[in-house]
């Protein structure tokens, strides 16, 4: 009886006595949602695969009739809005509205189609649902210093979810094919890590992976083992990343979740360092938090300027995205109207970061590239041309975009436009085989012998045995020589 009572007490303590400092939660929020924002934005590249010929298979059959069918445009909207919300949260927008909206948008984007079957997106759906349903608690009023610790069972639950993931990941490897190393050997891409695994022995490396996952199941739940879990877990996930496995940002997400395992003294040291900057910012924060005409003016200017920035994004359906972001910002403001100035400023910063993300990643370029490729395969050459024109617009130095656009122009009989693309591409790389071949063919067909010969010569420097280029060179060498003055 006493033992049972002790077990029950330990179980209750496991959940309810779990403490985490506000400073650690703040650090987790920043790192986790930064990775989230990058991941959500990068998903835009995959939007064109949705809704093709109105075909879709949801994760659950009942969703197919219940929720709207995903399309290229709606998925751009979903991922764009997710990015905005993640940026708002990492910038300090801790209102429940933001978390709930993000969790719902993410759940729709994930569960509506099996096209997104990433396991880590399932983990994210769980994490976001937890955070939205049970806001990460902060220390009770009166102890609201960042080092104050709140009892926080939802954070414990998040750690339990990670343990469940490791447990089943280890179980799936309790299979002869994995244990003898052949499954690992078949999946690990060529590279340094493959060489290391090979030298250690495939079977040994496979068993070591399984053992590590099993150890992490328990180490994550035991505070004293956290330094060990941090080193082992982060090391394992970064090795997965460096191995070149096609797992998106999974490793970075896991690293961001491991922030929850940072020992409190380490977090406290970091907090003390950041306090100096925080103290200097205090008057600004106090001013922003003061309700009044100035705060509302700042809010209005911030909202408008942010939306103008989003409107400038060179993305298909940006009007819809701007309206969606305006609605989300409005909904959040309605629940935090007392801090209107801060909300307006955070909104402006989030929109600016969104534009920065768009300019410094390949997501938009790939979005138009994949869209163009899909239309080309479907035989819709005009739509494909329009998409490739956007590729060239957002990434003028991207040679494959110029090549594809030139090819589409030729299919549609726009030879001069194709030639312009070739020339623009060859100004970036004069030895490009495809562009030189295309240019040579067009010049040759137009009877421009000297230009055709020059393009063929350039292409043959890259590929001396190219039969088309050799034929063009032969023809124009002969014809130009026969017309040369004796």
């Amino acid at each position: 009886m006493a033992a049972q009572s002790e077990l029950s007490r330990t179980y209750r303590k496991f959940w309810l006595a779990f403490e985490v400092s506000d400073a650690k939660l703040a650090l987790f929020r920043v790192i986790f949602f930064a990775v989230f924002a990058i991941d959500a934005w990068s998903q835009i590249a995959h939007a064109p695969r949705y809704g093709f010929r109105d075909f879709n298979v949801g994760h659950f059959p009942f969703l197919d009739g219940l929720l709207p069918m995903p399309t290229r445009s709606t998925m751009v909207l979903i991922y764009g809005a997710q990015t905005y919300l993640a940026l708002r949260i990492l910038l300090g927008g801790v209102g429940r509205t933001l978390y709930v909206a993000l969790a719902l948008l993410f759940a729709y984007g994930y569960f509506i189609s099996q096209l997104n079957s990433y396991q880590h997106h399932y983990l994210l759906a769980i994490a976001l649902a937890l955070v939205a349903a049970f806001p990460l608690g902060s220390a009770p009023a009166g102890q609201s210093k960042p080092q104050a610790r709140a009892r926080n069972w939802p954070v414990r639950m998040l750690l339990v979810a990670i343990s469940v993931m490791y447990l089943f990941a280890a179980l799936s490897k309790a299979d002869p094919e994995w244990l003898n190393g052949s499954a690992l050997q078949a999946q690990l891409p060529d590279g340094r890590l493959r060489e290391i695994a090979k030298s250690m022995g495939w079977g040994f490396t496979a068993k070591l992976t399984l053992f590590t996952e099993l150890v992490l199941v328990f180490a994550i739940q035991w505070r004293r083992a956290w330094p060990f879990a941090l080193v082992t877990g982060i090391g394992m996930h970064m090795m997965f990343h460096w191995a070149g496995l096609k797992i998106g940002l999974f490793s970075y997400f896991m690293v961001s979740l491991y922030v929850l395992l940072l020992p409190e003294p380490w977090v406290e040291r970091g907090r003390a360092l950041s306090m100096k900057a925080g103290t200097r910012m205090r008057p600004v924060r106090d001013w922003l938090d003061k309700p009044g005409v100035l705060a509302w003016l700042l809010c209005a200017v911030g909202l408008a300027a942010g939306l103008v920035l989003v409107q400038m994004l060179p993305i298909d359906g940006f009007n819809a995205l701007t309206i969606c972001i305006a609605l989300l910002a409005g909904a959040e403001l309605a629940t935090r109207w007392r801090r209107a100035g801060a909300a307006g400023l955070q909104h402006l910063l989030a929109c600016a970061l969104l534009v920065l993300l768009a300019g410094h990643t390949d997501a938009l370029r790939d979005y138009y590239r994949f869209w163009g490729g899909q239309e080309r395969r479907a035989g819709n050459h005009f739509e494909s041309m329009l998409a490739y024109e956007k590729v060239v617009k957002v990434a003028p130095d991207y040679l494959p975009g110029r090549r594809s656009l030139a090819a589409q122009y030729r299919r549609l009989g726009h030879e001069d436009d194709a030639l312009s693309q070739c020339e623009a591409g060859l100004a970036i790389d004069a030895t490009d085989l495809v562009l030189n071949r295309t240019a040579a063919e067009i010049y040759s067909a137009q009877g421009e012998g000297n230009e055709a010969l020059a393009a063929a010569e350039r292409g043959l420097q890259t590929s001396p045995n190219d039969p088309k280029l050799r034929a063009i060179r032969k023809r124009w060498q002969r014809e130009l020589n026969s017309h040369a003055p004796q």
């Binding site: 959940w15 093709f52 075909f55 639950m157 799936s172």
Partner: protein, 147 residues
């Protein structure tokens, strides 16, 4: 433990454990590893090929003409739920014609030297003698609604 918190904790725990347990206990399609946390599992070593035959013509259709490339990955992994949905779409688009599906999964050659080992063939997965067998030995999906 407060009652409401206790209920919430145990419901969430169930929600975390049931999906992966469903895979091991009830899921007949072991290639469908969603929600089971089977990262880098041996199933990924398999290489499946799926062919769709529409009508009585001998040759399989070119799947890329009907579905986005991304769905072709599902046919290569032998994911039955997606393959069945694709077959159903072909039935809807071709009324009155038969749609037959052939799924063959082999062990990838990289895992072992020599000829790949056949791991799965959907035509050998049923013992129901009443099912009408048409050309190529596969079943008309439009009539039986199963692979």
């Amino acid at each position: 433990m407060p009652r409401r918190v206790s209920i919430a904790i145990h419901l969430i725990l169930l929600g975390l454990l049931l999906p992966p347990l469903h895979y091991y206990l009830f899921n007949s399609d072991k290639r469908d590893e969603r929600f089971a946390w089977r990262m880098f599992s041996p199933v990924r070593v398999e290489n499946c090929g799926t062919q769709f035959f529409v009508g009585e013509n001998g040759a399989p259709i070119k799947v890329a003409n009907y579905f986005h490339n991304a769905w072709l990955d599902f046919t290569k992994r032998g994911r039955k739920q997606a393959i069945a949905a694709m077959a159903q779409r072909l039935c809807d688009d071709n009324p009155g014609q038969s749609v037959r599906v052939r799924i063959l999964c082999e062990e990838r050659p990289r895992a072992s030297a020599g000829k790949p080992r056949l791991l799965y063939d959907n035509q050998r997965s049923t013992s129901d003698e009443d099912i009408e067998v048409v050309a190529h030995g596969a079943f008309d999906f439009c009539k039986i609604g199963a692979l």
